[in-house]
């Protein structure tokens, strides 16, 4: 029975091979596949009203915090990160000159990089600061080595002024759009 089965399969296979053709195929092309998605995500958002800034007093920090940030530090992500842009958007309707500093810290707490934004008082228009990482920009390893962010928000003005703008606030936004090589 097995002989008959094999014979039948051979004959049928031979028949198919005889009458069929196939253009040359190169399955090793799969090695050339490049899967490079662009991933976007919100990163950090800080908002404060003017009263909170005033409470911190003149020339003082109204926010100082170190937060873990491992978005790019995970091994799978870090190994595949190619390039991209961190985008910071700032809108200040308070009566204060302000400074926001973002420090990128590694596992040991060492500062790898610093982004410093000096913001004029009464700037209702959103000001955008794109920072490029990769070839021609900052070193991509800054992000892949970052374990936490230290965020410092300083008041560079007096601690008593009040803006004429309704609901005066400082709003700091950040987002990332990066290219990864998955394959």
């Amino acid at each position: 029975m097995r002989k008959l089965l094999y014979s039948t399969l051979w004959i049928t296979g031979l028949l198919c091979c005889t009458i069929s053709c196939m253009e040359e195929q190169d399955f090793d092309q799969f090695d050339d596949l490049r899967v490079t998605p662009t991933l976007s995500s919100g990163i950090f958002y800080l908002e404060s009203d003017e009263e909170t800034i005033n409470l911190a007093g003149p020339l003082g920090s109204f926010y100082f915090q170190e937060v873990t940030f491992e978005a790019f530090n995970e091994q799978y992500v870090a190994e595949r990160l190619i390039e991209g842009t961190m985008t910071y958007q700032i809108q200040n309707t308070t009566s204060k000159r302000l400074r926001i500093v973002i420090e990128f810290l590694n596992e040991d707490g060492r500062v790898l990089d610093v982004e410093r934004f000096d913001i004029e008082a009464n700037s209702p228009d959103i000001v955008e600061y794109p920072v490029f990482y990769g070839a021609g920009g900052k070193n991509i390893n800054i992000l892949s080595s970052t374990k936490s962010l230290r965020v410092i928000a300083d008041n560079l003005s007096v601690g008593s002024s009040v803006s004429a703008n309704p609901d005066a606030r400082i709003i700091f936004r950040s987002g990332a759009e990066f290219l990864f090589q998955l394959q």
């Binding site: 009458i19 069929s20 053709c21 253009e23 998605p37 909170t52 926010y63 937060v67 990864f180």
Partner: protein
């Protein structure tokens, strides 16, 4: 190339040959006993038949409605990534599928009733594997292009994940009855013995990243997804344990499941043939109207919930006293909690893919004195009955095939011509239009050498000029012993 991608590619494009389940060449090819399996009400003329075990019916069908092997892997000098982008991602839709159906008949026997010559009984057992996976378009684009850049604001449909597969052993018993000179009806009861089944067919949800209301970007996900499996984990555990008796254990479990030891189901086939006049016949059949109750070795995976995130958020003065610095992990935990994924062992019913055939056939070219079934002793639908069409050497007609698939009904339309050369040889040519091909020409041949019957049926012959460029391929063949009288 590593093994995993190779296996996926082979599965998708080469081995996974098989959708359709359409056996348009076999349908109403009543010289072949296996035509009873696609219409239990087909006209039968033999006294008895027996399929040669394992060789009576072997069929493999394959199809891809979108890209072909050649589209991607032809040695044409075009960058492979470009080919994937232009010929796969930009062209294929979530209605395109890759599918595979293979069937092997373990044994089949048919015989005419001693007391009721108008009744023809048949029974047997066959194994069938059927897998279909729709192209998960949005998920593929998400993986290939990402959620950023041009895809900001795009809603990725998580419901694009849609697949189903199963392997079953089928025990069946059918009755075919000639009601009168013009009408033959038939029915077949089936017991399904499931070897494994999996399906992920009712998924819904979306994922979108857009400009945020607060932050630069926000991502929103809503998901209600489930993968149901029955009989899969048993095999997986054996392979995972890798005890040295793996092969034996797999074989043992497979045998047990084959012989009613796994999940069971029940189904029926019904069909008829009706002569509108001596030369015109209409037929129809409904196959696999049935289900399998999956309660053993069930393992389901669920992913459901919804959430929106725009990153770490600090709002003063509300968060002024929040000195927790593990906000990233908190964010991850929040997302995880909003999108619970789990496992359960809840039983479920899986429906068999119902198939419907219909045909109209016109016979012409009387055979004169050379009757096809001259020596038939059964006196049913055979020579000696002038009202039957067995005298006619030629048949021409059309067939309709429909199958219920996870994303709706798929249909195929076939035109055919059949030519009989006495009792020894019968040929059938078909032209079929379906979602896979507009150039599907099939050919079937049935050889009768004494009591030995051999048939071979092949589809989409034009594609044999470059089989790698074929959207559809199918092959079926088998051996039977047939008797029309007492021999």
């Amino acid at each position: 190339m590593s093994m995993a991608p190779r296996l996926i590619l082979i599965t998708l494009f080469v081995y996974a040959t098989g959708f359709a389940q359409n056996k348009e060449v076999l349908y109403d090819f009543y010289e072949i006993p296996q035509s009873l399996m696609v219409n239990p009400g087909v006209k039968t003329s033999q006294k008895w038949h027996a399929g040669i075990p394992v060789l009576s019916g072997l069929s493999v069908q394959g199809a891809t409605s979108g890209v072909t092997v050649n589209d991607l892997f032809a040695n044409d000098g075009v960058d492979f990534t470009t080919k994937v982008q232009e010929r796969l991602l930009s062209v294929m839709t979530d209605r395109d599928d890759f599918s595979s159906t293979s069937q092997i008949e373990a044994f089949t026997v048919g015989f005419r009733g001693k007391n009721r010559l108008d009744d023809y009984y048949s029974f047997g057992m066959y194994g069938e594997m059927d897998i279909i996976s729709y192209w998960p378009k949005d998920l593929a684009i998400l993986a290939f292009e990402g959620n950023g850049g041009a895809n900001l604001g795009r809603n990725f449909d998580l419901g694009d994940l849609n697949l189903r597969g199963e392997m079953v052993n089928v025990l069946h018993f059918g009755i075919n009855r000639k009601v009168n000179e013009n009408l033959t009806i038939g029915g077949r009861a089936k017991i399904y013995s499931s070897i494994f089944q999996f399906q992920s067919i009712n998924n819904s949800g979306s994922f979108v990243t857009r400009e945020g209301q607060n932050n630069v970007y926000e991502s929103a996900i809503s998901a209600d997804m489930q993968l149901q499996t029955a009989g899969v984990k048993g095999f997986y555990d054996i392979i995972e344990e890798d005890t040295g008796t793996t092969k034996k254990d797999v074989k043992s479990l497979f045998t047990e499941r084959t012989l009613l030891g796994g999940n069971l189901g029940f189904g029926v086939d019904v069909g008829f043939s009706y002569n509108l006049n001596p030369q015109t016949t209409i037929t129809a059949s409904v196959l696999d109207l049935g289900f399998i109750s999956n309660s053993k070795d069930v393992w389901n995976y669920t992913f459901a919930g919804s959430t929106t995130t725009d990153g770490i958020s600090i709002v003063l003065p509300e968060d002024i006293d929040d000195v927790d610095n593990d906000k990233w992990q908190e964010l991850i935990d929040e997302i995880d909690a909003a999108l619970p994924h789990g496992e359960n062992q809840a039983s479920y019913i899986s429906w068999r893919p119902v198939k419907v055939y219909g045909s109209v056939r016109y016979d012409f070219g009387q055979g004169g004195t050379g009757r096809i079934f001259d020596n038939c002793g059964c006196a049913v639908n055979s020579g000696g009955m002038s009202s039957t069409s067995d005298y006619y050497r030629n048949s021409i007609g059309g067939q309709l095939f429909m199958i219920k698939r996870p994303k709706g009904v798929q249909a195929a339309l076939t035109g055919f011509y059949q030519r009989r050369f006495g009792r020894v040889l019968s040929l059938k040519g078909t032209y079929t239009v379906d979602k896979y091909s507009f150039t599907n020409i099939g050919l079937g041949a049935n050889f009768q050498m004494g009591p030995v019957n051999f048939y071979v049926l092949a589809d989409n012959l034009l594609s044999y000029s470059n089989i790698a460029d074929s959207h559809y391929a199918s092959l079926q063949f088998g051996f039977n012993i047939i008797s029309w009288n007492g021999n």
